[in-house]
């Protein structure tokens, strides 16, 4: 909040009166902010203890590397090379010599300290404004040592939030479908990993086809489509306990599931006799409600963050287009009117935009539009890509992209990609196997 006020203040007054750093996040940032992430200092005892438990030579530098990578990946920051750092980590954390950091053109500096206390990992870190020569944030917290990667992500979230005025998205996970094998006989598994690709874990064995996993708002549950016993149905999985249950056991196929923003309902499509409509199921009392009723294909529903509206795609106009309606199914309005087909609408967590997939003249696009359909912006074009999912702060979209095969049908791959809302900073998200259908969790620590 403080930052917001300062920002408004800044606009009104002569700039030279202020040395506070700011990151311009309103457009593609072509001049990422130079930032120095000093390795977290660590005493010898702590170092030895962490080495024993985590097999990491120097946990202080390991954590700072996570912070560096995260900041770099965001596209908004340029972490400087550590070789150029003049000050030792422990001294820098006490009181940086700002001239030294200024010399290497760092505008912000992150310092910190990690210690082993009562079998726990204790971390403190500080964010410094190098030009102004002062500390702008300090924080300490304690966790179990096995959470060490999350420590790096939480520090990044705090730094990111302080410098951009927006919540971060680094202490998060991605649930997705891992893919292996030839295109005509893919083995698909449910998989989960940290946002930066680490801690990958498979949640199913690949015995049955699984598709389109989505997190609950609390990240504890996942809803997805499974072809268990050749009956395509919507399932619910508790990530902690591994318990699975079918929720969409209707006399036909249920698919395209998502949670309501309060996590109490699942919204999904139910297909029967050649017609797909949208239904909800209350997870507590199992009451099923029909939301859309039209002899066309209605699918890919997604709630607005306040739960009042639903966006979905339908071919009721003859072609696949995006619609919105009240959450009770009333007041259906088409919002996509551009050239081509529109699908997979997903409401942004900020509520102001809908991300979508567009197919036009043999190309697939990921784009965004306002919730009334105006202001369409296409962010990326490719042979095949679809299914955007928002980062929890509504700044980044993750989606999957498939390659064209050659004349022999070879060369197929499916990978996860992310792109900034501005259309900049497009990059592949590394995964152990081929991957599709990504869904971004909300912040784990909140």
């Amino acid at each position: 909040m403080l930052f917001r006020y300062l920002f408004i203040f800044l606009v009104l007054l002569p700039i030279k009166a202020f040395a506070l750093i700011e990151v311009d996040i309103t457009r593609g940032n072509l001049n990422p902010l130079p930032v120095a992430v000093s390795p977290l200092s660590i005493d010898k005892d702590s170092k030895d203890n962490f080495k024993k438990i985590l097999k990491k030579e120097n946990l202080g530098s390991e954590i700072s590397t996570i912070v560096e990578n995260n900041l770099k990946q965001s596209g908004l920051f340029n972490p400087l090379n550590k070789d150029a750092f003049l000050q030792e980590p422990d001294i820098a954390n006490l009181k940086p010599r700002f001239e030294d950091w200024n010399l290497i053109k760092a505008q912000a500096l992150v310092t910190g300290k990690v210690t082993f206390v009562d079998e726990k990992l204790r971390v403190e870190f500080r964010l410094w404004d190098v030009l102004a020569g002062k500390e702008i944030m300090a924080l300490a917290f304690t966790t179990v040592p096995s959470n060490w990667r999350r420590v790096g992500h939480i520090i990044t979230d705090k730094v990111y939030e302080r410098l951009t005025g927006e919540k971060g998205y680094f202490d998060t996970r991605i649930i997705y479908i891992s893919e292996e094998g030839p295109k005509t006989n893919r083995i698909k598994k449910l998989a989960i990993m940290d946002q930066d690709g680490f801690n990958n874990k498979f949640l199913t064995l690949g015995n049955e086809l699984v598709l389109t996993p989505r997190f609950s708002p609390t990240n504890q549950m996942v809803t997805y489509l499974s072809y268990f016993r050749n009956l395509p149905r919507v399932y619910l999985l508790d990530i902690e306990t591994g318990m699975q249950e079918v929720v969409g056991d209707f006399p036909g196929m249920t698919f395209a599931p998502r949670f309501s923003p309060d996590g109490k309902k699942i919204i999904m499509s139910f297909a029967k006799d050649g017609n797909s409509d949208i239904y909800t199921m209350d997870l507590e009392n199992r009451i099923v409600e029909r939301i859309s009723n039209h002899p066309s294909i209605d699918t890919s529903p997604s709630y607005s963050p306040d739960g009042k509206y639903i966006t979905f795609n339908s071919d009721r106009s003859g072609y696949q287009q995006i619609y919105i309606m009240n959450s009770n199914g009333k007041n259906v309005k088409r919002i996509s009117f551009g050239n081509g087909l529109y699908g997979t609408p997903v409401w942004s967590p900020r509520g102001d935009l809908i991300a979508f997939t567009k197919l036009h003249k043999g190309k697939f696009y990921i784009g965004v539009m306002r919730t009334d359909g105006t202001g369409e912006r296409l962010l990326t074009e490719n042979f095949y890509q679809e299914a955007p999912s928002w980062s929890p702060n509504g700044r980044v979209l993750i989606f999957y992209r498939e390659t064209k095969t050659n004349s022999k049908g070879e060369g197929f791959s499916a990978k996860l990609w992310s792109i900034d809302l501005t259309g900049y900073n497009e990059k592949m998200v590394e995964t152990e196997t081929d991957a599709s259908d990504p869904s971004w969790s909300s912040l784990l620590s909140n």
């Binding site: 030839p182 295109k183 005509t184 006989n185 893919r186 086809l209 598709l211 389109t212 489509l225 050749n230 395509p232 036909g252 196929m253 698919f255 395209a256 499509s269 297909a271 006799d273 050649g274 017609n275 797909s276 294909i297 699918t299 890919s300 795609n313 071919d315 072609y319 696949q320 087909l341 699908g343 997979t344 997939t357 197919l359 043999g362 042979f383 095949y384 679809e386 299914a387 498939e402 064209k404 095969t405 004349s407 049908g409 070879e410 197929f412 259908d437």
Partner: protein, 159 residues
């Protein structure tokens, strides 16, 4: 009043048939494609002698072509002859669509085949429908011919 209405309707019918002819002439047969519907026999299997197991669809379409109706009539005759058999109609889409929409499209394709079999007296109890969307292509190519082979409804013996 009535006359003008009749005239109007007549005119509409003529117009409609003109449009249809125009469409028909545009649908060129090139190799194994008519329009963009697959007409070849690659990947086709036989449920019995002369009874092909699958029918093909145009892009984004679920309407049965003349050739598809012919195939399904043969399937219906085969099902009547083997009255204990049950079948699963597996509906598929090509890779040029979003996953969830394709699941619905595959379901609709399989159902249009089912509906047609039912018009030849096959009970709906004997037919179940299973959509795979774009998940199980028979041809891994990324070209119009491969896609045409993948837009299909396949009748599979279930018992």
């Amino acid at each position: 009043m009535n006359l003008s209405k009749t005239l109007k309707n007549g005119f509409l019918i003529i117009l409609a048939s003109l449009v249809l002819t125009a469409c028909a002439t545009q649908k060129k047969t090139t190799g194994q494609l008519q329009g963009d519907v697959y007409t070849g026999s690659d990947s086709v299997e036989y449920l019995a002698s002369g009874v092909a197991d699958r029918v093909f669809f145009a892009t984004n379409e679920t309407v049965l072509t003349t050739a598809s109706r012919e195939t399904l009539r043969k399937q219906a005759a085969w099902l009547r002859k083997n009255s204990k058999l049950t079948v699963v109609l597996e509906g598929h889409a090509d890779e040029r669509g979003t996953r969830e929409y394709n699941l619905a499209l595959g379901e609709r394709r399989a159902n249009s085949a089912k509906d047609y079999l039912m018009t030849y007296g096959i009970s709906s109890d004997r037919i179940s429908v299973l959509s795979y969307g774009k998940e199980k292509p028979v041809d891994s190519g990324s070209n119009p011919l491969a896609w045409s082979k993948n837009r299909r409804s396949v009748t599979v013996k279930a018992n």
